[in-house]
């Protein structure tokens, strides 16, 4: 059976070119970048090169790039690292942020306000001003949502924060999780106007185990783990040179992504599915959206069972249904858009990627309706 992967938002395969470039770091150039001998210096050179590539990508200085093990770690550093020295801090984030942002905020003990989102999954930027308090220290808004692919108006938000900061001694820090966006959108931190930005290697055709956090020069971030002086002491621990070089190599071949082609495939799926299942609903704005993301809700068919039945046909997607989550609660993102539990129950996310073909998309469009209809027969709904 041919297997079709339509879950690129979960993780991507490593691009062959990336694999080829970095294989040298596993057996051959395996040194510890902190060692002064030639083995170590080889690895250090790779670290420097990687930092340069990421800095170019983000349009920032090399010293503003910090490497870590995952986006979750980067987001934890962004949140805890900024809040650590503050007294009674206040944080603003949208309710549709990734758990790797929301959980650290909740656990930090900071007071916390949601910047609300509209029913199409875009934050209401006009509400930001009234949420900002004297003790607000951090605003975190993801660039593109991982479940519904909606794009947030980062530039406008940073403009509002900049205005506000003019009046302040203690500046508000603006963080964005750009993990899902990095494949398709410019991550130029100057034009976005962010102070902190997270990207992750394994979402952009690099290996798992490396992420980068941009920290604007002058922004005070404290370490959250302690050890030796790697990453200027902000992220101690021997560097994962292999994965970090992989993140950089992935950026070097990023232009292989074809936004237009991906968007066409995305729209082909939407059209194809809606023509067979006219009562299906697309969650999130179709206008301000990643070219590779679709999120559907089907009445009377539950998402986990749709996913499992598709998997049996070789097609991999994901779902926001409670039945597929370890906590048995539905996607907080879908609920935040105002979907009922029932609607979240019948949701699936389809995310396309660099290697998705028209044939694969058509196979999915062909298989899905009969699966949904059969499940509707079983549910009697």
């Amino acid at each position: 059976m041919k297997k079709i992967y339509l879950d690129y938002a979960a993780t991507t395969p490593v691009d062959k070119e990336v694999s080829r470039k970095i294989e040298v770091f596993s057996e051959d150039k395996f040194g510890n970048p902190s060692s002064l001998h030639s083995f170590g210096q080889e690895a250090l050179f790779a670290m420097d090169h990687s930092r340069e590539v990421v800095a170019d990508f983000l349009n920032c200085k090399r010293k503003e790039v910090y490497f870590l093990s995952s986006a979750t770690e980067a987001n934890n550093l962004a949140v805890f690292g900024v809040l650590k020295k503050r007294n009674d801090p206040h944080v603003i984030a949208s309710p549709i942020e990734h758990k790797a942002v929301l959980e650290p905020i909740k656990r930090s003990g900071a007071s916390f306000d949601h910047l609300p989102v509209s029913s199409d999954g875009i934050v209401k930027k006009e509400k930001l001003k009234e949420l900002i308090r004297e003790n607000t220290v951090l605003v975190s808004i993801g660039y593109a949502n991982s479940e519904i692919g909606t794009l947030q108006p980062l530039k406008e938000i940073s403009e509002i924060i900049r205005e506000e900061n003019k009046k302040r001694k203690e500046k508000i820090i603006f963080h964005t999780d750009a993990v899902q966006a990095a494949n398709y959108l410019s991550c130029d931190v100057q034009s976005l106007g962010v102070d902190l930005l997270t990207i992750s290697g394994h979402k952009m055709y690099g290996p798992k185990g490396a992420a980068a956090l941009f920290i604007k020069e002058g922004v005070d971030v404290s370490p959250i783990i302690y050890g030796a002086s790697q990453e200027k002491g902000l992220r101690p621990g021997t560097e994962n040179v292999y994965a970090i070089a992989g993140l950089a190599a992935a950026i070097e071949v990023l232009d292989k992504n074809d936004n237009e082609r991906t968007e066409e495939l995305r729209d082909r799926i939407v059209r194809g599915v809606l023509s067979e299942l006219p009562d299906a609903k697309v969650n999130g704005s179709m206008k301000d959206r990643l070219p590779n993301n679709i999120n559907f809700t089907f009445k009377g068919a539950e998402g986990e069972s749709i996913m499992i039945a598709l998997d049996r046909e070789g097609v991999a997607v994901s779902t926001g249904s409670a039945c597929a989550s370890n906590s048995l609660s539905p996607s907080h993102v879908l609920l935040s858009l105002g979907l009922s539990h029932e609607e979240a129950h019948g949701s699936i996310r389809v995310s396309l990627g660099r290697f998705t073909t028209k044939e694969e998309v058509d196979f999915f469009i062909e298989k899905l309706p009969s699966i949904v209809n059969k499940l509707r027969m079983i549910s009697g709904k």
């Binding site: 009377g300 068919a301 539950e302 986990e304 069972s305 499992i308 039945a309 049996r312 249904s321 409670a322 039945c323 597929a324 370890n326 048995l328 609660s329 539905p330 539990h341 029932e342 129950h345 499940l375 027969m377 079983i378 549910s379 009697g380 709904k381």
Partner: protein
């Protein structure tokens, strides 16, 4: 044991081709239950004659495990006396499906609950 798939083959077979689904017009016991944990819904229909469950069917809006366990319940109680059917346990169902992910055992419980409600309903009406 190595994990080869999330669900056992047995569960997959039941889920993809359940034999007992559908509303039963001449049922004389109906149990409708909802899963407070994940929000799915299940209805179990039974047709009882002289204490014996002649047929059983279900309608389930839930995960693959919920559908598979509903189907198993209906199959297992067919031909049984209602009293006997009441003693059906989760464990027996899981055995029938070879294995069930730990997270999904509550779906089997729901199927049993649906059956019990159906039997209750049958008894209540003195049908």
């Amino acid at each position: 044991m190595k994990n080869k798939g999330y669900y056992s083959e047995e569960t997959m077979k039941r889920f993809l081709n359940p034999e007992h689904f559908g509303e039963m017009k001449d049922a004389n016991g109906v149990g409708k239950v909802g899963n407070p944990r994940c929000g799915d819904e299940m209805t179990v229909y039974i047709k009882v004659e002289e204490g014996i469950i002649k047929k059983a069917s279900f309608q389930t809006w839930g995960c693959a495990a919920a559908i598979a366990t509903s189907d198993v319940v209906c199959e297992m109680v067919k031909g049984k006396h209602v009293k006997e059917a009441l003693s059906l346990t989760e464990k027996e169902m899981v055995e029938k499906l070879k294995k069930l992910p730990a997270l999904k055992v509550h779906c089997a419980s729901l199927a049993i609950k649906g059956l019990k409600e159906a039997i209750d309903d049958y008894g209540k009406e003195g049908k």
